[in-house]
Assembly symmetry: C2
Homo-oligomer: 308 residues x 2
């Protein structure tokens, strides 16, 4: 798999951008990775600030619900224009009814994260229409000794509004040439919002990834989206990486390929695999809620940004 | 935990009832258990018939979708008044759009099962209002050398319409004295139906169980029901057994008790634990879609059937 990007002709002049690091979900179990992430992000030209409860611990959470809700308020008051989750895990859906969505949207901040953070991004889109960024998080993506350079480049381009095109190899894609609002993220979180006020009603381009879900669970979740009418109304379904899928002797050859083959018999929406996104080192930074284009040619798919 | 039942004063006279065994979900991996189940059910006074594709295998399923859909049609044509799933697993939600719900309801058959079969039961209720039975399945509950006598008694009473009262010990129950339609089953399946035409719109008494779901996943699913407005509109939430919960070092003491404690702060609906139902040997046979009563006293809860 390769991902390529085309920087815009000229970068906008700007000061050193700030990143506010906060923990909206699970507790940080390796604080040294956050320290390492801050060092890496500084090398990349960012000022960083760590929310004062980013390393808090309460049960399996990064602080109590009250602390994590307060962290969002602090993020809005801080001058950093980017707000990045330290990590995912679990805990975001608890907070959804208690956040000030209007203030979050009006802040103009760029909220970045993935996995459990999907719940925040989709709720923000549902409640306000504001764009946020499905992309790297401090601990996983910036907390190691070495960074994935392409992940970094794609993040930098996205934060500078310089990402115009993301091309990726695909060995299984239906023909498509469509435009629409890009939305989605972690499949389990998308499903956990169906029927709630936090699911955006978008007929666009749905991207999905997941980790640690067996093939039958992935299929059950896709059927959930199918039966709730979501899949048939999309312009395209773009599948990222489904990793660490537990296998079982019950599977008897049934796997993600079986799931996709079956799904193609249920819905006419084009399905495109191979998106560099998920619980993997190489991940794009994608504008959730922005209008994009998607097109395929044999063996390749292209996401086109800055569609208006 | 104990469960007790009060047989009605006089049993209705009736011939030897028939049970049609079919496999709507996962493939049967131990056919000898089905044979054993048929022997046990014969001893209990039932005639049994095994659907001709009950032991079919396709990937992880008990036959192709077409075969499993046809099995439901054969069940309706058979004279057996009880239709019991051999086992759960996964595969029922695939079939939901393809079943003839009106014919299933009009058949007057007693459909019995749990786990993945929850999807069938809730869809039947949503589409037709017909009652089905959350209860034992051939392989797990009747396929072993020895049977759980109380499970058998409760099943027999339910099939004879002789179950009037199910009393069970509870060490954590809110005070309640309410009546309403009983519904629910496997939590993951209930959630997988939210926002689809297969979820009944019931403001009643919701019972839930699950297996092999970690505490945070159980909570995420309960939050799904909370945010979709389902929990607040129930008269009571009755929790069965949540078994084989994977633990993680990330939990840091967070467990099912934490989940229930947190939930009580989010919703005023009374929560009652201890229902003898789930992926456990001792399980009640419960009428999904029937009007029942529920009441608690210190240390005990009572489900009252034949409420009108």
């Amino acid at each position: 798999m390769t991902a390529s990007h085309t920087p815009a002709p000229a970068a906008k002049g700007r000061g050193r951008p700030g990143i506010y690091l906060m923990s909206p979900s699970g507790r940080v179990t390796a604080p040294e990775r956050i320290e390492q992430a801050q060092a890496h992000l500084k090398e990349l030209g960012f000022r960083t600030a760590l929310d004062r409860t980013a390393l808090a611990e309460y049960q399996r959470f990064a602080g109590t619900d009250t602390q994590r809700i307060a962290a969002f308020r602090r993020a809005l008051r801080h001058k950093g224009e980017i707000v990045m989750a330290t990590r995912g895990g679990y805990g975001m859906t608890r907070l959804l009814p208690h956040l000030d969505w209007r203030a979050l949207a009006d802040s103009g901040k760029r909220f970045v994260g993935h996995s459990d953070f999907t719940a925040f991004q989709l709720a923000l889109l549902a409640q306000t229409g504001a764009v946020s960024w499905a992309g790297p998080m401090a601990s996983f993506d910036f907390g190691g000794k070495r960074l994935n350079q392409l992940t970094v480049d794609l993040f930098m381009d996205a934060m500078r509004d310089e990402l115009e095109l993301l091309s990726f190899e695909t060995d299984d894609a239906d023909p498509v040439d469509a435009r629409g609002v890009l939305w989605g993220g972690n499949l389990a979180l998308v499903c956990a919002l169906v029927g709630t006020p936090w699911l955006p009603r978008v007929r666009g381009i749905l991207f999905l990834e997941d980790v640690n879900e067996s093939a039958y669970r992935v299929e059950r979740m896709l059927i959930h989206l199918l039966h709730s009418g979501i899949l048939a109304t999309q312009k395209a379904i773009v599948l990222g990486r489904f990793t660490e899928m537990p296998k079982s002797s019950l599977d008897a050859g049934y796997d993600m390929h079986s799931v996709i083959a079956w799904l193609r018999h249920q819905v006419r929406t084009p399905i495109i695999t191979g998106l560099p996104f998920g619980h993997v080192s190489l991940k794009a930074t994608l504008p959730v809620g922005a209008r994009v284009g998607i097109a395929t040619e044999p063996g390749m798919a292209h996401l086109v940004f800055h569609e208006h």
